[in-house]
């Protein structure tokens, strides 16, 4: 009992001298001791694991260290965004895998966001059919494993497509077959840079005009023709330059070769299956976040907006969505992270992402499981933390600022 008394009196009496107690009975000191012990235990655990692994590797004469990074890889990779050959190193193979992962993640995130918002709004639609369809979509997709969906898309995409000889010719010079989608490859002449510069200048002009127009409206209430000016700056102006420069853009059309289609840009079926699978799966979750966000805005807000004379469009734009975003962004972030991490399921359908190339082939050829797995985990951690940081910044900007 005495220690309890000491504690209460210590907490109450400001300025009163602390009674002398044994240091293990002093809650403050005891706290420090426990933390120090825990810290030491954690450090020891990691050190022991590291030491043990190194010991075992040496004992079994398994190569270790990161020297393999600069060794010749000797295998090929189908889809690559950066130059890579059989004679390239494992390090370069890593970058090919990483860029492929990032490509899927970025394309998937953009598409899933669009689809998710549409489905989420559709779930709240007053149209009975639209609302039910959206509900069925969300429930069916959310409640089946992603891996099965990917296999379904891959086999469905592959099996539904015709063989090379019977390629479907799409008007505009594209082909569709089991090898994927072949689209004309744009070939830019030197003059094309002028078009890009005008486009850039047009965009800058459009953004500054928009800002100026908003300030003007806040001050005077007068509206400006922002859209019309934007159309002129961003579309008509570069188009005019394009024709003046002598149409500096041509296309390299795909062409049916002996086995395959030559020329053009090939979009691989593995990529399509992975992007479609991830997009559809993640969109179902985003839709739920969007629905929850919109429903979190109290009905009184909408009614107040109507009472002020705002039409349904501007009500959604100016009143509901800005408030809903606060609720939507945090779950949106975790869905983005999930999509990125789920892209590693690419191994199942042969898409050469980071896990397939690096923890697949490279791990197997070098046999250095520990190093390869650690690098891969560090990469996913970096990607996820970067995404989180960006989304947290965006969240902070969108958070309700009370005035």
């Amino acid at each position: 009992m005495s220690s309890v008394d000491a504690r209460t009196s210590g907490a109450q009496g400001v300025g009163v001298e602390k009674p002398r107690v044994a240091f293990w009975n002093d809650p403050e000191k005891r706290g420090y001791i426990f933390q120090a012990v825990l810290f030491a235990a954690v450090i020891y655990f990691f050190w022991a694991a590291f030491d043990n692994a190194r010991d075992n590797l040496v004992k079994q004469k398994i190569a270790s260290g990161f020297g393999f990074w600069n060794n010749t890889a000797g295998f090929d990779i189908g889809q690559r965004l950066i130059p890579y050959e059989t004679t390239s190193t494992y390090g370069q193979a890593f970058w090919v895998g990483l860029t492929n992962t990032l490509l899927v993640a970025v394309v998937g995130i953009v598409l899933a966001t669009f689809l998710g918002f549409i489905i989420g709004v559709a779930r709240l639609s007053k149209n009975w059919l639209v609302q039910k369809l959206a509900t069925i979509y969300v429930e069916a997709i959310r409640n089946t494993p992603l891996l099965l969906q990917l296999l379904f898309w891959y086999n469905a995409v592959l099996k539904a497509l015709p063989e090379v000889k019977e390629s479907v010719a799409i008007p505009g010079g594209s082909f569709l077959n089991t090898r994927g989608l072949f689209v004309p490859e744009p070939v830019f002449a030197a003059n094309f840079s002028w078009v890009l510069y005008t486009l850039l200048a047009g965009l800058v002009g459009y953004v500054s005009y928009g800002r100026w127009a908003r300030l003007k409206q806040e001050k005077t209430g007068e509206q400006s023709p922002v859209l019309k000016v934007g159309f002129g700056l961003v579309i008509l102006f570069p188009l005019a330059v394009y024709f003046l420069a002598g149409q500096p853009l041509s296309f390299n059309y795909p062409d049916l070769g002996r086995f395959n289609i030559r020329g053009g840009v090939q979009v691989y079926p593995e990529f399509v299956a992975l992007v479609v699978g991830l997009t559809i799966y993640t969109a179902a979750f985003i839709a739920e976040a969007v629905r929850a966000g919109i429903q979190a805005v109290s009905k009184g807000q909408t009614e107040a907006a109507y009472a002020l004379g705002l039409r349904p469009g501007p009500t959604l734009d100016l009143v509901v969505i800005p408030q809903a975003m606060r609720v939507i962004i945090p779950p949106l972030t975790s869905n983005y992270l999930n999509l990125t991490k789920n892209s590693s399921l690419a191994v199942a359908i042969g898409y050469p992402d980071l896990v397939q190339v690096f923890t697949g082939t490279v791990l197997n050829q070098t046999g250095q499981a520990v190093e390869v797995v650690v690098i891969t985990m560090a990469v996913y951690l970096t990607i996820s933390l970067t995404t989180s940081m960006f989304m947290n910044w965006y969240n902070a900007r969108k958070a309700l600022i009370e005035r």
Partner: protein
């Protein structure tokens, strides 16, 4: 994802105290069962039937070792491993040996920390294509899409071959054999490449085997044999001599059928093989009748070959280079003495 978990599991196993490096024989005896790493299913080499019993030339290696240790070929736990996971599983001690049509290469022998036993099947890499493509040689595959399995020597040979011949091609790589074959069958690829034995075996599993053909080109040497971890010489010896006993038995004409008679043989070579003379089994930590046990339960190499991949099987592969050295092949065993 499963693959990643397995790799992680292996990494964790590396962290675990003292992986089963030495004393494999003792571990196996204590456990009462041999953990044998085999493929995911390749007819003739290692494939599970409807009851879950594994059969094949590679499965017989496991059975022979179990017979030598336990006098019971059923005391084997077969662990199905994809090409990508096999080495990690062996390194981590998940299996006691790998008998999984694995090619012996220098880097696997050294930096992967493995030891390879004798070659129980001499193979080479080939290509399978659809007949209607009208291709007669691998050199005509310019611009073709080729399906192959990840983490194999096949993947590397393919790249080498096309680079050496300066032919452009496009690889599509899958983690398991089944996925690879399925992708070839759906038309994702023009050609499927793996060891020739694998091509013959997989061709029979396709919906219309007659629409497909194996090209005559063999582009590599693929010596296939069992593998064990570095650091346990006794265990390595047992794996090596299992194969040699089966070869020697074929050479001396000792079969499953005539074993009873042969036990009474006065031929000193046969007596040493079957353990009626000498203490050769004990030298390895086994019983002296270890050779007789293998023949009793599994048979000699020739019997195993004919039953699984040879004329007695659906594959109908000729002995070729896998015949005994005395019959113009490469199978040769050091003397048991």
């Amino acid at each position: 994802m499963k693959k990643t978990i397995l790799a992680l599991g292996a990494a964790v196993a590396v962290f675990a105290a003292g992986t089963a490096s030495a004393q494999t024989l003792k571990t196996v005896k204590d456990r009462g069962v041999l953990n044998c790493g085999v493929g995911t299913g390749l007819a003739g080499f290692a494939i599970a039937d409807s009851q879950g019993n594994w059969d094949g030339l590679d499965a017989d290696v496991c059975r022979a070792i179990a017979a030598a240790i336990f006098d019971d070929p059923k005391k084997v736990k077969f662990v199905s491993l994809s090409a990508k996971d096999r080495f990690t599983a062996l390194q981590a001690g998940e299996v006691d040996l790998l008998s999984r049509n694995t090619t012996w290469t220098l880097s696997r022998d050294t930096s992967l920390g493995l030891n390879f036993g004798p070659i129980n099947y001499y193979d080479g890499q080939g290509f399978m294509v659809r007949k209607k493509l009208n291709v007669k040689s691998a050199k005509e595959l310019a611009g073709a899409t080729v399906c192959t399995q990840q983490g194999t020597t096949t993947e590397l040979n393919l790249a080498d071959y096309f680079r050496a011949n300066n032919i452009k091609y496009e690889p599509v790589v899958f983690a398991t054999n089944d996925e690879t074959v399925k992708a070839y069958e759906t038309g994702r690829c023009d050609a499927f490449t793996t060891d020739a034995s694998g091509l013959y075996s997989e061709r029979l599993r396709l919906a219309n085997p007659d629409d497909h053909m194996v090209l005559p080109d063999i582009i590599s040497k693929e010596p296939l044999g069992p593998g064990v971890r570095h650091g346990d010489d006794q265990w390595f010896d047992i794996v090596k001599w299992t194969h040699y006993v089966m070869i020697t038995a074929e050479e001396l004409g000792v079969t499953k059928a005539n074993l009873g008679e042969m036990m009474k043989s006065t031929n000193p070579e046969i007596k040493r093989l079957l353990g009626t003379e000498g203490k050769y089994g004990e030298a390895m930590g086994l019983t002296n009748d270890w050779g007789a046990r293998m023949i009793k339960h599994v048979g000699n190499y020739g019997e195993s070959f004919e039953r699984n991949v040879g004329m007695g099987s659906r594959l109908k592969i000729a002995r070729g280079v896998n015949a005994l050295w005395s019959k113009g092949g490469l199978q040769y065993a050091p003397p048991i003495r």
